[in-house]
């Protein structure tokens, strides 16, 4: 139980009221507490997260999401096609795919909201339906503003807390944490998209769950909010929780995720650590500068490398910097630059999904004469 308590401490290292007014988390600064916020406060928060990282992930080994041959068909259309993957605790697992690739459908199936046509998905080894206290085990942000516009943020959290016997004091703590304390009594219909997202995040954290599922959590957030969510996700994972977060924004995932599950057209294209994914990409290249660039290029081409002139330098693909350097030395060619450039996650992602993007096929269909 201690572990549980400490994990929670990371979320509120200060009393809730203080965190709401002093902007001890970046999200709380905006827009209601911005005037109180300062950089030092944010550094303090960062320290809090660091503190969180020191806490071992013990007892969380069973907090996993496991999908096996998960399939969802709507009539003829296959939304999710034989998906198998595992989301482990202690890291942020990104769920990447273009819009319409089946991310949200998959997440709804994890939550037991949509029924799979085939296969199964479990949380902590059980179907979601069979969880004893679902909000104590799984917290989810599936869509922004999925709340009755006439109900207040506080009432929305209250009805969820009551359904899973979560103490009501927890509501005020979380309202402070996400920076909605001052508007908690107002009708949620007046909320901006960003405020709706923050309420959704509060709802997800309500039961202090070991598994967190976020569908596009940074949609509608401003830069401060995005930074806060990034820290939150990493902090939650560092506490040993299982964090599964979908996005179509590669740049965001590159900063947040440790591992990624990439899907396109409902199929898993890859599941691997972010670093590995970028390393494997053919988008990786080496930039070479030399006074004898033409001579070097001819030699590289002979070795089967792909070379392109760019800004007075040579971009080499298909050969690494060691081989290029050795080749240049053997030919007594002077090198002025030999710099390996790793591919961005975005490049690697584009490479993976290029063939699976829906409209791609549609465009090809049009080119063939068009059936519309």
């Amino acid at each position: 139980m201690t572990l549980h308590r400490e994990r929670y401490d990371v979320l509120t290292t200060r009393p809730p009221a203080e965190s709401a007014t002093r902007g001890s988390n970046p999200l709380a600064e905006d827009p209601y507490a911005r005037r109180h916020g300062s950089d030092t406060d944010q550094h303090e928060t960062a320290d809090a997260w660091e503190h969180g990282r020191q806490i071992p992930a013990a007892g969380k080994e069973d907090s996993v999401i496991e999908a096996q041959h998960l399939t969802k068909r709507y009539g003829d259309k296959v939304a999710v096609d034989d998906l198998s993957f595992t989301v482990r605790p202690g890291i942020v697992t990104g769920f990447l795919g273009p819009n319409g690739s089946g991310k949200s459908t998959t997440m709804r199936m994890i939550m037991g909201l949509d029924h799979p046509t085939g296969g199964r998905v479990t949380v902590n080894g059980r179907r979601y339906h069979d969880l004893a206290w679902p909000l104590h085990e799984v917290g989810a942000l599936l869509e922004a503003k999925a709340i009755h516009p006439g109900r207040s943020a506080r009432a929305h959290l209250r009805m969820l807390a009551e359904a899973n016997r979560i103490p009501l004091r927890r509501i005020e703590e979380l309202l402070g944490l996400v920076g909605l304390a001052s508007v908690a009594g107002q009708r949620a219909g007046k909320f901006s998209l960003g405020m709706g997202q923050r309420l959704g995040i509060a709802a997800a954290l309500l039961g202090d769950p070991g598994v967190l599922i976020f569908d596009e959590p940074v949609n509608g957030l401003d830069p401060d909010g995005i930074r806060w969510v990034r820290k939150l996700l990493k902090g939650l994972a560092a506490e040993g929780r299982t964090v599964f977060v979908s996005s179509h924004l590669m740049s965001e995932m590159a900063l947040t995720a440790d591992e990624v599950v990439v899907i396109g057209r409902g199929r898993v294209l890859a599941q691997q650590p972010v670093a590995e994914m970028t390393a494997r990409s053919t988008a990786r290249f080496v930039r070479v500068r030399s006074p004898e660039l033409l001579k070097l290029r001819a030699a590289l081409d002979q070795q089967g490398a792909q070379t392109v002139f760019e800004d007075g330098a040579l971009t080499v693909r298909g050969m690494d910097e060691v081989a290029i350097g050795d080749l240049a030395a053997s030919l007594l060619i002077t090198l002025h630059e030999l710099s390996p450039e790793s591919a961005s996650l975005e490049d690697a992602f584009m490479e993976l999904t290029e063939k699976s993007v829906e409209y791609h096929g549609a465009l090809q269909g049009q080119a063939r004469g068009g059936d519309r």
Binding site: Y128, H129, A132, E143, G150, R170
Partner: protein, 277 residues
Amino acid sequence: MSMTTTGTGGTPAVATPAGRYGMADLVRSEWTKLRTVRSTLWTLGMTVFTGLAASAIAMGVTRAHWASMSASNKASFHPIEVSLTGGYLGGTLLLGILGILVVSSEYATGTIRATLAAAPRRPMVLAAKVLVFGTVTLVVAELVTFAGFLLGQALLTSPAPHATLSSPTALRAVAGAGLFLCVVGLLALGIAVLVRHTAGAISAYVGVILVLPIIVSAIPGSLQDQIERLLPLEIGSAMINDPAPAAFGPWTGFFVLCGYTAVILAVGTVLMVRRDA
């Protein structure tokens, strides 16, 4: 998470209770949902106001014109029915709409996914809704019928004949009208579980309550009577009035209405379990 680590002590931020979430938790949650939206207060307030105002006006006007009323009008005047008709018609529409909103607003706003994430056993969620909405509706409906009856009778001074709760059939009519409103509200709730869209559910409900009688009235002869007595409003009328010769008796009719509601809710439960939320 049922974690049992020991060490520095202290209680966890959120202790996981023993056992499993159940009906009591969901009833509490549904009660919070019902009372934290304005439409509930508006609809219930309008139901009470309509019931009292209609009774007061009908009885007051009758009293004022009593002296000039024809003998046959005087003979057919039914003080119990006249004091209840407004509340019963208004309640049928207003409580029905509230019953629809209780379900359809969750689907319209996406709240249903939060609800089902907290409580994935859908039949239990629906049962909690039925219990909470049914209880609130029953209390309000009985309040409306009793208050409407008493207010109306109080306005009906001699020589016009007024009824009391101890008059024959009075208690059955007043309490029965409240029961009718509760069950017809649950029927509307059940329709909303089937249809899920507010506008569609209201159309279907109003169709059954108000449009169907018009269609049935075009049917010739005794067949009309046979079908008419199956209509919800006829069942309600039989409860507050002396039943028409072809109609079901008040409790037979009520039993039939309960049957409709049970079937709709049963089908709704099956669909709710099967469909994607």
